[in-house]
Subunit: 250 residues, 2 copies
Amino acid sequence: IELAIDGGDNPDSIATLTSDPLAGVAVNYTGERHDLDEVRLLSPVIPRSKVIGVGKNYADHAAEMGGEVPEAPLLFFKPNTSVIGPNETIIRPAGVTDLQYEGELAVVIGRICKQVPVERVPDVIFGYTIGNDVTARDWQRTDGQWARAKGSDTFLPLGPWINTHLTLDEAGKLEIETRLGDDVRQHGSTSQMVRGVAELVSYITQSITLLPGDVILTGTPAGVGPMEPGDEVHVSVTGLGTLSNPVADE
Amino acid sequence: IELAIDGGDNPDSIATLTSDPLAGVAVNYTGERHDLDEVRLLSPVIPRSKVIGVGKNYADHAAEMGGEVPEAPLLFFKPNTSVIGPNETIIRPAGVTDLQYEGELAVVIGRICKQVPVERVPDVIFGYTIGNDVTARDWQRTDGQWARAKGSDTFLPLGPWINTHLTLDEAGKLEIETRLGDDVRQHGSTSQMVRGVAELVSYITQSITLLPGDVILTGTPAGVGPMEPGDEVHVSVTGLGTLSNPVADE
């Protein structure tokens, strides 16, 4: 069964499935269908193990952060407790004064894998979604390690769905746009990544095993900036829809 | 049922349980018992969410690393894919030349919790075990963020068991000793921690939710140093036994 075509044929509704496509068992349609405006979408995946972020993977963003592109991919973890879904509220913790959005292409892993050669990376990818790598920039500056700055609760909106039928080549040519309210703040293309998806997955898995449902955040283009309580942030990626989240104080 | 007393009455054997004590359901003995030398112990916990490490939490270790104690706890994540059990092999990845041990007291969380006041921390602790916060010191120096240096596969031996009947006060007065082969390399006391367990859990949970099975590594005393393939590393903590692991090249 080709689940992927359903979205194209029925853009305003969802079909329910008999099981979790990431669980490695046969999946079919239940026959149930709901209009999108009748349901509340949750994060399309809660990683059972980890989210790995990649810092400074767009040259224009590395430059605006006052640094150069790192010699090797700059990796950091976000825990599954930081994940929220579409339209859920990003919470600015007490003490944070500079909470920023970072719109990104997110890769969802489909198979347990390690030391994946670049040419085998398509075999381990389940699909693609949108991530907002929310960052407490003030904590990032003072903490040294980014656990609190990037790993706090609600700091990883994911969704609205997972696109499972993109080729690696297609994933490398998507437009990313982040809007704060109506203002476009980030506009880039995944073609501007310093290291593409295949290189990142291969590099990470040299020493780290990935599990089905693990997520790789591939970095953000230039234009990062602060969000204030009352704002709504929207990240759109070609073919992946729009991930919208309001911002509130704790 | 008081499971905790079993170990004291039967130090050379294990009793099997009807369920996972971290799952929040009633647990009893099955009646089965095995001698310790007939079984292979696995890690006593695989976190469903995260391990949070605390850097430079002993002043003598901060000094040997050429730095001072940080103003706030220095937090970093290790993923559940880095966890191994007693006697499992620590693998030195290709390209790593300086793989080091860090013997630590590990706290296992028992309840979902957030913003825990210091005086309520005992309520959210399931128990204590030993952790070896294995670190690729060369990657730690070059990578900036410590994901690869501390989060690679096999970089977190945990065990051999979880002690569920220590008070916070008792946990703050345990001796830690790390031996490489027969040589004592680290010898300290948890009383030397810059921030104790209650302060760490309270600080972390200000912005990060902890789940049952999450693990906090409380930092390592002075004496860290390299392990070579063929070595065996042993971390002992008063009342928690000894966690032993051999080291091998990939």
